[in-house]
Subunit: 317 residues, 2 copies
């Protein structure tokens, strides 16, 4: 079903304990669109890039079925640039450089061909901009999923709350959920966030997996234990892309189907961290995705003893 | 099947952000035995207490089917006493007082009636003492599960390694697994620990659940999201008790059955943190345990779409 992805397309320079990169392709919409591309195509992207964005990266995105009609190219400005350094435990990082450039006054355009949007993914951006996209769609999508970050809670909380009222699913990490809700318990944090608007809340916990809350239910997806986390950049966006990509492909919006979507998102994210930047997410195949999802099945699966067996044990004890 | 539990029976004084207790019943063998009692009875305990241990607590343990023949009562010494204060996030704590008392020269006795031991749970104790119990059993149990802590890695690492060679399952938390192995990745940490002796390793991650490693497989059990963690004291011991109690009841030692055992252990531990000390673990019913385990089933459960449905979606897309 028709899917629109909004977010940054950018350059990142990344340092981890395993090495560092020069400016490489990055941005929320990049990771989200690539992840979505393994589930449904086209992926209709809304973003803005500068004159320095590489035609080769555009071509790579097009070859993944990403429709770039909604991506503005500004000839007077450079692309958004972020540089960061991860600490040894990979769970925290320092931002070294943030150059907004084209994102500073981003005015998102929704092409006419995007007006059939049924699934809308709002990647991390100023909540004003996220809301503009919703307003510029003539018909409300079937499902609106949104990502955000601490930064907007600090500088644009009122606007963030206005946008939260309009969406269906908020995807944040545990730290962000705690800051937004003022609650330490993730169960309470999710309930508080639901009271702000979204019917569903997904809380990402990095290596510890993800929690899905909604319809009075909770689902816990495991994190896949890995030998090495090479570079966490983009893992959260890749998760969100796998999540909404799976939902858009199957077309069904229900808690049961979102359980699966969280597993697919987790599987995609587990690939992302294995190499620098989007390298691994560019090179996946459907077979790789299916095999990784089966790993999650095996990782999380348990069956209680049938009651008849249990009773037999009880009697013989 | 015949189950023996070794560990401290003690007094704890606990401070959490929710309140504080005077000296209340505590100790690894106490929590483990109580948890086991919901699966199999008798639970044959090996421990040592002082003249100050309360007859009422002895009676409570007996009423849970705990056999106290292996519990020495020393009339010349006080019981082990620990006092600690939890920080606001409940994930870290300061030890305020540790009085070894009777534990200082604990010489574990194995009564003749315990020699049929098939399942042995070595609660956290000096690794020398844990090894003594194994040596004093005439026949090697079918399964030996062991807990330990950072303290013994710091002061008795050689002895700990000698004991690790003799056991089947090590149950530790993530921090302990990392210290013992020198590996940050829990996947690598488990592999390293397996190379020390135990075929299976369980890594407890508090609110994030637990990981089971063995037979080349990994299982991830979720943590149950709770509104409030009231007091984490004894949760790890309760987990271990539920784990070995379930295995002893069913009698089957396999990775598949250990998946279930981890879930039962997690369910018992989730009760433990809801009240101060062992209060909640004393007062459980089988109905409460079964209902809690069903919560874990619902929490972790997901089913992939059948391939036929998937194919139909693919074709219609």
């Amino acid at each position: 079903m028709s899917l629109v992805v909004v977010g940054s397309m950018a350059f990142d320079a990344i340092e981890t304990p395993f090495g560092k990169t020069d400016k490489i392709l990055g941005g929320a919409a990049t990771y989200i669109s690539l992840a979505c591309s393994y589930f449904t195509r086209p992926v209709k992207a809304i973003s803005v890039v500068g004159y320095d964005f590489l035609e080769g990266d555009m071509d790579m995105l097009r070859s993944h079925g990403v429709d770039l009609e909604g991506v503005q190219v500004r000839q007077d400005e450079k692309s958004f640039f972020w540089s960061g350094r991860y600490h040894t435990d990979m769970n925290s990082r320092d931002t070294l450089v943030t150059e907004l450039n084209v994102l500073g006054d981003f005015d998102p355009k929704v092409p006419a061909s995007y007006q059939d949007c049924e699934f809308l993914m709002l990647g991390n951006l100023a909540p004003d901009v996220q809301r503009l996209v919703i307003e510029r769609l003539e018909r409300r999508p079937k499902l609106i999923v949104m990502d955000t970050m601490n930064f907007w809670m600090n500088v644009a909380l009122d606007s963030l709350h206005q946008t939260l009222k309009l969406i269906d699913v908020l995807v944040v990490n545990d730290e962000e959920a705690r800051q937004l809700s003022g609650e330490y318990s993730l169960l309470r944090a999710a309930a508080k966030i639901q009271s702000f608007g979204p019917k569903y809340v997904v809380i990402k916990k990095g290596e510890h997996g993800a929690l899905l809350f909604g319809e009075g239910q909770v689902f816990s997806a495991p994190g896949l234990p890995l030998e090495e986390v090479f570079d966490p950049t983009g893992a959260g966006d890749t998760f969100a892309g796998g999540f909404i990509g799976y939902l858009a492909k199957s077309g069904e919006v229900s808690f049961e189907n979102m359980r699966r979507a969280v597993v697919y998102g987790s599987a995609l994210a587990s690939f992302c961290v294995e190499k620098f930047g989007p390298e691994q997410i560019i090179a996946l195949t459907h077979e790789m995705v299916d095999a990784r999802v089966q790993k999650f099945v095996h990782l999380a699966n348990f069956n209680l003893m049938p009651q008849s067996v249990q009773d037999a044990i009880d009697q013989s004890a």
